[in-house]
Amino acid sequence: MSTTITTSSEANGNVSAATARAAASAAALSEASGPQPVTMAKALNTALADAMHADSSVLVFGEDVGLLGGVFRITDGLTAIFGEQRCFDTPLAESGIVGMAVGMAMNGMRPVIEMQFDAFAYPAFEQIISHVAKMHNRTRGAVKLPMVIRIPYGGGIGGVEHHCDSSESYYAHTAGLKVFTPATVADGYRMLREAIDSDDPVVFMEPKKLYWSKDLVDLAELRSAHAAAASAGSSSEGRAAVARPGTDATLIAYGPSVPTALAAAEAAALEGRSLEVIDVRTIVPFDDATVCESVRKTGRAVVIAEAHGFASVSSEIVARVQERCFHHLAAPIRRVTGFDIPYPAPKLEKYYLPGVDRILDAVDDLQWEN
């Protein structure tokens, strides 16, 4: 890492050497054509590599992201491809990582930084709230901070305490931050590329229990679709997805809860109930239109999230839908969320996490007799 940063001329030399290596690696990146089983981790890793290849101002840094490739291997191989100037380990200090990224973003770079775990991002809270979120506003738009803070979040992996928090509500509550959370492998690639392209700071919440989930995707096609969309100036930011169409009730979920909602919809289908599943995708900006269109159609809704329900993203969604869809509702909107307790120890997390049965119980409560 710092070992290569000695003189400015050497810095230039290394950057161009890295660019050459990156060019060589681009060929290696051309995957087998057609859809292949790909993990979310691989999609995120590919998105980082592609973004670094496309723009030399994209830098990746954090704790253990260099030689090790990150504790979840999301940055695997980036130092080897792009050199220690562009993907490097920092001292172990989260406020330092975010604060340094602010300065770099002020000075022409597009840092993509990794917080190792959800709860390890808290030392950086002041930098995120007081500077990352506010710099553009404080300076009347003079200073943009094109930076991405990647945060592996949520439970379901049997992690010990401080490794399983659902911290999205803190960031979503803060004006000036965009908050993205992918639920599919394709969105892992697409949304991370869009986050890096964004001129606004994005908190990119990665559901760690989905890192090793696989979908059939064509990375080469995603890459060219991104390039085409980017050159046309279009983005999927602020657009929720209908993950499964249905007619009887709407399940609204994001990140780690989307597969759970889909499983619940599958189970409900066997009982003859057609549930639509909405994947929120970008918590900020929130897609009121897609969510409300679904609820107006079905007349019933359940919001699902791992985070504590009290004063959370899920409460916000309920409030928004209620304000906009009241006369279309056949029943009060229900929520299935984590309990209002500190995240439990591994052997107890199954009682805490929203599961299919709890979701179906909530659906059953949606006053079907009316």
Partner: protein, 405 residues
Amino acid sequence: MTISANHTAPDQTSKAPTEDALSQTATKFGITAEDYMLPARHQIEMVDPDGRLLPEGEQGTEPGHEYPLPGDEELLAAYEQLVVGRRVNDQNSALVRQGRMAVYPSSHGQEACQVAAALCLSDGDWMFPTYRDAVAVMTRGVDPVQVMTIFRGDWHGGFDPLEHKVGIQCTPLTTQLLHAVGVAHAAKLRGEDTVVLAMCGDGATSEGDFHEALNFAAVFHLPVIFFVQNNKYAISVPLAHQSVAPSLAHKAVGYGMAGERVDGNDVVALLAVLDRAVKLAREGSGPLLIEANTYRMQAHTNADDDTRYRESSEVAEWRAKDPVNRMRTYLTDRGLLDDDGEARIREKAEAVATQLRDGLSEDVPVDPQELFRHVFSAPTPQLKEQSALLADELARDASTEEAGK
């Protein structure tokens, strides 16, 4: 730690470059790396409180900690800025008393630090100031009225940081030091020779970001000068409650960087020390920590009552060490400043004061719709809704007012 020998690329030596550069710099001065990092035994002081140039042997310099006297032209320019800075401080405090400004944390008594911090930098360099460093920002060339926008209250910041290469004045303590580190790091990666001066106070050295910023700057070997104005108080809390280190400059050695202490009311010594620090940083010697020994002559702000926590005798003692008077005496005695020169400088200071009075008395209309304009690069659908809500509210207010006429 994250740095290990086998983490270096195969074509690199296993020795940390920081170590090499420190040793090289120390060797250049003919001293050990430790002696290079540790501050000199005494603070660097060149002109005493009575305005007399101290003999070379009494300036606090040591082998490897040698500081040439700045040139006359630089000293005259500094004096002019000192006089302007003092006038700015006192004018702003008066505007607060008259209710034209919400608050002003004055740097009265610290003007030598303010002026030197700006004058030591080149145009391409960056400065990251705190809320008390308005005079430094103005000395850097930012329009005085724009600088005071933050305190007038029509927006949080009044100038473009990128245009002036000056960070927005920072209130959360030492958070801006990390931004300084990032700006320096980005510049270094592009091969630019930018130096970044990052400012904070004595109380701020207790903050975690102080530690993280110094450590990051040292580990990444960045040209950042951490300039601590030790004005003895963090609002009411004296330095003894913040640190029992031999001095704040001694903290440098723990990070593997050089530290130095300087008389913060002696602009001659400040320029000598900061000019050398900038030169060293630009040459690739890594970051430096400079502690300026000064004093906050007035209360923290107009809302503070300093008689509750310090004796007036202590303030009087420091008044005798005033940075402006000392420099005037020195320059006059050396024949560099006469009555005409002094009058011309006073006139210039008065012009800036007038600019501030006029600018801050002017009722600049605020635009409520601007509230939504800068949250993101483009407003989200939610912000557009809220903006329409406010517009509607204002339109109804206006029509009610119209009907009432």
